[in-house]
């Protein structure tokens, strides 16, 4: 790339070396010795800049208009320097080159300062008339060509893609790449944005990308409408970027998700990937590429249904912990007792849900709407009569609405679970008041968020499943008592010299109980609105550890706290004087702030 214009263009639009150096070093071909299979990550990633062709096309197309303009100008100027002009002293002298150029510049561009330096002769005027006509045509042609080119679709798309790649390249913070901004993708993106995570979004459809721009997220989210199956697009979206901390493949197309999983594993091995898969076959194929986290909406929903049936309080606690900070406690689901369930839907969904219901100890009757009784059929009504629950999970909203309505009519007290496919139908489902609504996109989003919110929180949720329902109810009550009615912020802290220096110093001298740290460093008489959710020591996990637990260096704590709690907690763990004040109310200081002011920094 030696062309100066090209260099300039590249300097502005194309990724800096540093980031894709591997390409330049290895060249387009890489020789693999013998029959060795290239390991993931050893292959040079495709560059995002393989498409700067449109720029060259524009330059090429501008050749003719520019040359025409040059010719028009030079002919006019040349003519003016040849035709004699009248001078005030009576002499006849033609214009100089510069004057002629000056005159043509303002005349051809329609500025028109008039005839200078002296009034023109008839011969000069004839030439100027001719010049003006050809100049106007030349300009009109040049500007017209340029505008036509700027409106060229491929050219504009090119510019948008390059701007996107530049934005991604300059991402200042770690970011997640969200592929697919459909219903699930949008939910995940919005929730993550509210939690302050940075995102890059890819989707096939321009409409969805436009919707994202209108959604007014907090952070600046680079978004591009492009095919995610093309590895170059993924690289442009930051797959190989050092700050890329994860890839979420959430399109509604299993093949596309699989392609993303494959590309992510081969181009950036080890990057965390969460992928949506609607069939076990896809999930199995994905697993071969770096063991991504696979989210199957029906499997996830079955698990959730089971959780609600067996341990409603635990389900309530989960919902609350993964909701955005400050959200109120959701109502506790009220599942029916043991009895018969009627599950309506197509084989795949029904199989998952029924399996989970059976695990939960229910008797299940499956019904395929394509072959068996419709909602208005007497057989369906007979089945529902005496049942404790109905799951309407076919893939058509109208059908599900009919089944829900028929079930509620046949057995008013029955526990109804409805599947809603299209977001536009939400008011219809809401009007029927099903006891539980299954929105596949929402299920996917919830599962993804649970996993992304905090790795330790995910561990906690898994560990909590082993506890009973009464435990969950107690834990919830305890959390509300300590942290307030809004859902807490959850964070993780490791008791080491880096994140808790003051506490580490203190632990070397004397043992410290967990409960002793709960007082506020801003006023010792008040406790901070926080509690420990989990203590991880080596392989041991203690859920909601007792406040008398002595702490040790190397412990990992998962904390939950109300507004402002994290700031106080960090001060206690990080500042020696704050810790001393919290532990002993040390008499030297009137207040923590007073000591801070009086202290000389060492």
């Amino acid at each position: 790339m030696g062309n100066p214009l090209l260099v300039l263009w590249h300097w502005i639009f194309v990724p800096r070396p540093g980031e894709d150096e591997a390409v330049d070093e290895q060249g387009p071909w890489r020789i693999v010795p013998g029959s060795e299979i290239p390991r993931p990550g050893t292959v040079a990633p495709p560059t995002a800049s393989a498409t700067s062709g449109a720029v060259f096309l524009v330059l090429r197309r501008m050749r003719v208009p520019l040359i025409l303009l040059l010719l028009v100008f030079s002919i006019s100027v040349l003519g003016l320097t040849l035709i004699p002009g009248a001078q005030p002293d009576g002499g006849t002298e033609p214009m100089g080159f510069f004057e002629a150029f000056y005159f043509m510049t303002y005349t051809a561009t329609t500025i028109g300062f008039g005839e200078i330096p002296y009034e023109f002769t008839t011969a000069q005027r004839m030439w100027v008339t001719f010049s003006i006509y050809i100049a106007v045509i030349g300009w009109a042609y040049a500007i017209g060509s340029l505008l036509a080119m700027l409106q060229d679709r491929s050219f504009r798309r090119e510019i948008v893609a390059q701007r996107f790649a530049r934005q991604v390249r300059r991402m200042p913070e770690p970011f997640l790449v969200v592929i697919g901004y459909g219903e699930a993708g949008a939910r995940v993106a919005h929730a993550l944005d509210r939690r302050g995570r940075r995102l890059v979004v890819l989707d096939r459809s321009q409409e969805r990308i436009d919707a994202l721009e209108l959604a007014q997220l907090r952070a600046d989210v680079p978004a591009l409408a492009a095919n995610p199956r093309v590895p170059g697009t993924l690289v442009a979206a930051g797959l190989t970027h050092p700050r890329c901390e994860g890839v979420l493949a959430l399109t509604d197309d299993d093949e596309a998700n699989l392609a993303v999983v494959q590309a992510a594993h081969l181009l950036r091995p080890g990057v965390p990937v969460i992928a949506r898969a609607e069939t076990p076959a896809t999930a199995a194929r994905m697993a071969a590429f770096g063991q991504p986290t696979v989210v199957d909406p029906f499997d996830a929903f079955g698990d959730r249904l089971r959780l609600i049936l067996r341990t409603p309080a635990l389900a309530q606690l989960f919902d609350w912990l993964v909701s955005p900070p400050g959200a109120p406690v959701p109502p506790r689901p009220d599942p029916p007792g043991q009895g018969r369930w009627v599950v309506v839907g197509h084989s795949r969904t029904v199989a998952e849900v029924s399996a989970d219901l059976r695990v939960a100890g229910a008797e299940v009757v499956e019904l395929d709407p394509a072959r068996e009784a419709g909602p208005e059929d007497g057989a369906f009504v007979d089945l529902v009569a005496g049942a404790v629950g109905v799951v309407a999970a076919s893939d058509r909203d109208t059908q599900n609405l009919s089944y829900v309505e028929a079930a509620q009519r046949a057995e008013p007290d029955v526990f109804v679970v409805a599947r809603q496919e299209s977001p536009g139908n939400a008011p219809l489902f809401a009007a029927l008041h099903p006891d539980l609504l299954l929105v596949p996109a929402e299920v996917v989003a919830r599962e993804v968020l649970e996993r992304l919110a905090n790795p330790a929180l995910w561990d906690l949720l898994q560990a909590a499943k082993g506890q009973g329902d009464p435990w969950a109810a107690d834990a919830l009550a305890w959390l509300v008592a300590r942290c307030g009615p809004g859902s807490p912020t959850v964070w993780q802290v490791r008791l080491d010299a880096r994140s808790a220096p003051a506490l580490v110093h203190r632990l070397a001298v004397e043992p410290v109980r967990l409960g002793a740290l709960m007082a506020s460093p801003f006023g010792r008489q008040d406790p901070l609105p926080l509690t420990a959710l989990m203590l991880v020591r080596g392989e041991d996990r203690v859920l909601v550890p007792d406040e008398e637990t002595p702490l040790a260096v190397g412990d990992e704590l998962l904390m939950a706290g109300g507004p402002g709690a994290q700031r106080g907690w960090d001060a206690t763990l990080g500042e020696d004087d704050a810790l001393a004040y919290v532990l002993s109310g040390s008499s030297v200081a009137i207040s923590w702030w007073g000591r801070r002011l009086l202290r000389t920094r060492t």
Partner: protein, 125 residues
Amino acid sequence: MNLEKVIFGFFVVLAATLNFGFVIGDIADPELHHPYELFAAIVVNLIATVLKFGDRTQLGAVHLATSLVASLQLIAAGIVWALVQGGGITAGEMSSVVSLAAGALLANVVSVVLLIAETISFQRR
């Protein structure tokens, strides 16, 4: 025969020859350097530059670079001349105009050399 190549070669060579024609002669003598020749050199050089737009090859890029250098130097020469034209041109002023144009000549020579190199390497294949 490729018509585009003929036009391209024509302008590249014409730019160099016009430039050479202007530069040749005593550097300080205004009698030996005609303004029309400089004008023609500027115009042809600009056309040659535009003709080199949009070439993705390495050679094309160097071509464009040399042409840009030549055009800039010739335009600089034209500006100097326009500035000093007022009351007759002195030997010193004339020599700065011509030396700028001589610099452009060097760039044009490089252009022609590139053109020849391109042609020869094409025939070898």
